[in-house]
């Protein structure tokens, strides 16, 4: 092997290692690493693969529970959804590539998360996307949005997996760092869950799917540094997707799930062959030997280094017994998929790479995975937070009458209709989409059990910007409320932590606080975290994004007949506020529109109350007492009312005197404050007593606000708007003026 006698700063920068980390690696090895080894170590020790900053924090999250079949550590998490079935899911970021090349960045983000799910044998049944951009009013931001939406659609629509939900926020904080988080959900018989742990020294390692090219080299390390003006020159670090190829790969992998010929399956994602082979071998307590000369190439002249670090998409590693290799390869041939036997499983605990027989890399797997040098940056609560939190958002007189405020909120790109986006995604293929995009959570039928799974992503970073702990806890609760609103019990969380550069003490403080908030909320609601992803270094020219905790929530519904939707279903039903009356305007969408700031106390969150409200609502829906149910979120009660009217195609008349008697500033707080732990429901008048009985048992308030019906959206003495006017405002939010 040719050793690496001296290493330059430029070489270290290329693999994103510090000189200390390099020295540590050399010391552990007892020699200097070769060029290939340096690349392998850099990738495996990157934040993206090695979680060197976030690992100690993530260890605090609750990850177990009676339904958990697979917690963090595999390609995706899995929970029991009854009937012998598992729901397999994960969320992952593709932020940096999407900022540089929105279409391919987003498309390959979708491709990557799909592979994480079908590598476990599960057929993907749903995709969701959580997106963040700078202000919608700016053409450059809309260009990014358009490219990202086209990329998500281009991949998902072609492969035939429905995109059923997600969210989009626009905020100054994402001007230079858009966020693209993609979540995939699959379903499989529990007995067929396929693990990615190599076993049986002597077994063969098959590389299947696309040929290997130079695309995406250093993608993992690219994702672990800040963006700057030169970042657009890193376009070669962005991969190019081929959804048709992935469709073929998916069909074969799903068909092979549970097949005794398959010892293990592992997809190739960040850091390509390097991380997939290392993780595959290490999980099984084995070693691995590969010859890169056996890897089919897309282009000539690729070095061993390039083959090991390529992030070419649509590739998969399989471990099979030697006697089964030919028959497994034949399964791939049927779909015109190429496969190469590139190596063998060993018992050495080492990753040995040769190039046509010549050794280029020989590293202990423990060094690459267990011995990732963890970083423990200083945490520092940013100065000035107390001043910002001390602002009273109720102090300023409202600039508009309440009716106009409501229309302005509905027209806000953060609140209004997402239809211009979701109609570009196939959200129905598979014929199981019961609640389509636009409601609280998507609801998918699980045909084999008569039940369903409810899916949602959520994460309001405005709350987290001033109080990351509260903000993260709210994200968990809000995502849980979304699935509860359709009648499903929250059963599992996947999370994506999008933060700035953690080497800054303020950012590390945010990260640490946010994980704590997630922990508290997950414990309070009894929902384990089964998978997740961390995206740090979302900075450009030293400016960091607001801390953005995106929660992907999976809910389980025993009986699809016991479901609920957000639209008012009948005329003459009683409109009910379930949960507390509140007027938390700090961090609200109203505050952004009316005051142009994000200041003041964050919405109060009482986790015990949250748990009780959710339990009460689930019980009301299960008892068949609610005609509609909608979570209160951005824009508060006012926006929730308008949305339930729009979705149900009928108006509402509110008569509650609390509003008509309130002073203007209090009225704004009551109507548009974003207080937590609340639902807007409707029920037949004969069912109201039943609703109250359940609420009382859970010590939850229920307040009757008015009656559904008609074509006006009115609040006695406050506003009286036409339903058509309200619908138009909402529909126009994402239509550029």
């Amino acid at each position: 092997m040719t050793a690496h006698p001296t290493v330059s700063d430029a070489q270290l920068a290329e693999v994103a290692l510090t000189r200390e980390e390099y020295a540590l690696a050399a010391e552990r090895l007892g020699r200097v690493p070769t060029e290939v080894e340096l690349g392998v170590i850099g990738a495996m020790w990157s934040e993206h693969c090695g979680y060197k900053t976030s690992k100690p924090l993530l260890a605090r999250l609750p990850t177990s529970g009676p339904r958990v079949l697979q917690g963090p550590g595999e390609n995706a998490g899995a929970v029991d959804i009854g009937g012998g079935l598992a729901c397999v899911f994960k969320i992952e970021s593709h932020n940096h590539p999407s900022a540089i090349e929105p279409y391919q960045g987003a498309a390959t983000g979708v491709g990557g998360i799909l592979r994480d799910v079908f590598t476990m044998g599960a057929r993907p049944v749903a995709l969701l996307d959580s997106l963040r951009f700078g202000p919608f009013e700016e053409p450059a931001q809309r260009h990014l949005l358009d490219g990202v939406v086209a990329g998500i659609g281009g991949y998902g629509n072609c492969i035939g997996v429905p995109t059923v939900g997600g969210e989009i926020y626009f905020d100054e904080s994402y001007r230079h760092n858009c966020l693209v988080n993609a979540m995939c959900v699959g379903v499989i018989e529990q007995a067929k869950l396929t693990r990615a742990a190599a076993a049986g020294p002597g077994n063969l390692v098959l590389l299947v799917g696309a040929d290997t090219g130079r695309d995406g080299i250093h993608g993992a390390t690219f994702a672990s540094v800040e963006l700057n003006e030169a970042s657009s020159e890193r376009r070669p670090a962005v991969q190019v997707g081929n959804p048709f190829l992935e469709k073929c790969l998916m069909e074969v992998c799903v068909a092979l799930a549970g097949d005794p010929r398959i010892v293990a399956m592992q997809d190739l994602g960040a850091a390509g062959l390097t991380s997939s082979s290392a993780e595959l071998a290490h999980r099984g307590g084995c070693g691995i030997e590969m010859d890169v000369a056996r890897v089919s190439r897309r282009e000539r002249g690729m070095t061993a280094y390039e083959v090991m670090l390529s992030e070419s998409q649509e590739r998969m590693l399989l471990v099979v017994r030697p006697q089964d290799a030919a028959s497994v390869q034949a399964e791939f041939d049927r779909w015109d998929l190429h496969s190469d036997v590139i190596g063998t499983v060993t018992g050495t605990g080492r990753m040995v790479v040769t190039d046509a027989g010549a050794a280029v890399c020989d590293l202990p797997l423990a060094l690459l995975i267990d011995e990732v040098p963890l970083r423990h940056p200083d945490a520092l609560r940013p100065g000035g937070l107390d001043a910002a939190l001390g602002v009273d958002p109720l102090a300023a007189a409202p600039p508009w009458p309440a009716g106009e405020t409501l229309l302005r909120l509905l027209r806000s790109p953060n609140v209004g209709s997402r239809r211009p986006v979701f109609r570009r995604y196939d959200h129905q293929v598979g014929d199981d989409s019961v609640v389509l995009p636009g409601g609280d959570a998507a609801l998918l039928r699980v045909r084999a059990t008569g039940g369903g799974i409810a899916l949602s992503t959520d994460g309001n970073a405005r709350y987290a910007a001033l109080d990351p702990r509260r903000g993260a806890a709210i994200a968990v609760c809000e995502a849980a409320r979304n699935v509860v609103a359709v009648g499903a019990a929250p059963v599992g969380v996947t999370n994506c932590l999008n933060f700035g550069n953690p080497e800054k003490p303020e950012i590390f403080w945010q990260l640490s606080e946010a994980v704590e908030g997630m922990r508290e909320a997950c414990l309070a609601l009894g929902v384990p975290v089964v998978s997740g992803n961390v995206s740090l270094y979302n900075d450009t020219q030293g400016v960091s994004i607001d801390p953005t905790v995106v929660i992907g929530m999976v809910g389980h519904l025993e009986d699809l007949e016991r479901r609920c939707a957000a639209g008012f279903a009948h005329d003459g039903d009683a409109v009910l506020l379930v949960g507390p009356v509140g007027m938390d305007l700090g961090g609200s969408e109203y505050q952004r529109l009316a005051q142009g700031v994000n200041a003041g106390p964050r919405p109060t969150l009482d986790l015990d109350l949250e748990r009780r409200v959710q339990a009460a609502v689930l019980e009301m829906i299960a008892a068949g007492l609610l005609a509609s149910c909608h979570d209160l979120a951005e824009g508060g009660l006012g926006v929730a009312l308008a949305e339930s009217c729009i979705l149900g195609g009928r108006g509402v008349a509110l008569t509650e005197r609390l509003f008509s008697l309130a002073a203007p500033v209090v009225l704004v707080g009551l109507l548009f404050g974003e207080s937590q732990s609340r639902f807007l429901a409707s029920a037949a008048t004969g069912d109201v007593a039943g609703v109250r009985a359940i609420a009382t048992r859970h010590q939850v308030d229920v307040r009757e606000l008015g009656t559904t019906g008609g074509n006006r959206v009115s609040l006695t003495g406050v506003f009286d708007l036409g339903l058509d006017e309200v619908t138009r405002a909402h529909a126009g939010a994402l239509v550029p003026s």
Binding site: G160, K247, R424, D431
Partner: protein, 238 residues
């Protein structure tokens, strides 16, 4: 009766079609793109998807599939062939139907429920509907804008071969409600022999009220009725 559902590597409506047929209580069998065997089916469905990736032009490669040779023969001898979405695109490329499907006028993919007016019940695919009936059926495509030269369009109209048109909910002209800007709002057409139907919307996605609409099932029901009445339109190779 037995439906055959073509499966190209990029097909994704195959299982949805099989479920719709199952809901109706009938049998279906998958037909692999590399095979010539039509397994003795009474009606071949070419379902939605991206056949071979559709990198060149939708359906342009699929028309050369081994399976399509058998489908051509089957259609020529009067067999029922039903192209849905990508299947319609393939049928046009294969010249089993006139015209072409081009990029949506919006230049964007569209997935949404649309209203279809049945323009003729005089086809084996629509006989269980009344002419003028309005059906709720979803579309999901990026290239569904039907185009043809004026004389072809006139001939299609004169021969009552326009099977479906995009309309507003009340059955009036679609106007802005057209999902793709098709000429004369055409959503589906039949062949001269009326035994080949191509349509962009997905009736298999409208087979259960739970999912929003059961209207699509009437088309599957029509085929069952037609076959029951007439027996096999043609014998596909066993």
């Amino acid at each position: 009766m037995r439906f055959g559902i073509a499966v190209f590597p990029g097909t994704w409506s195959d299982r949805d079609c099989a479920r719709a047929i199952e809901v109706l209580g009938h049998e279906s069998v998958y037909l692999w793109h590399r095979d010539h065997d039509l397994a003795g089916v009474d009606c071949v469905i070419l379902p939605g998807g991206f056949s071979y990736g559709d990198h060149l032009r939708t359906g342009a490669v699929a028309r050369f599939a081994p399976l399509m040779e058998s489908v051509q023969e089957f259609a020529a001898s009067g067999g029922l062939v039903w192209g849905i979405c990508n299947g319609f695109q393939i049928l046009c490329e294969a010249h089993l139907l006139p015209g072409a499907l081009t990029r949506n006028a919006s230049l964007e993919f569209r997935c949404e429920s649309v209203w279809l007016r049945v323009e003729t019940s005089d086809t084996p695919f629509t006989r269980a509907c009344e002419t003028g009936a309005v059906l709720a059926v979803p579309v999901s495509h990026g290239e569904g804008r039907f185009v043809a030269d004026p004389s072809t369009l006139d001939r299609l109209e004169a021969e009552r071969r326009v099977a479906f048109r995009y309309v507003a909910r009340d059955g009036s002209a679609a106007g802005d409600a057209s999902p793709n800007g098709s000429m004369r709002d055409i959503a589906g057409i039949v062949s001269e022999g009326r035994n080949v139907l191509g349509m962009m919307p997905h009736p298999e996605r409208a087979a259960e009220p739970l999912l929003g609409s059961g209207d699509g099932l009437r088309l599957f029901g029509s085929v069952v009725e037609a076959v029951a009445e007439r027996g096999a339109f043609a014998t596909s190779s066993p």
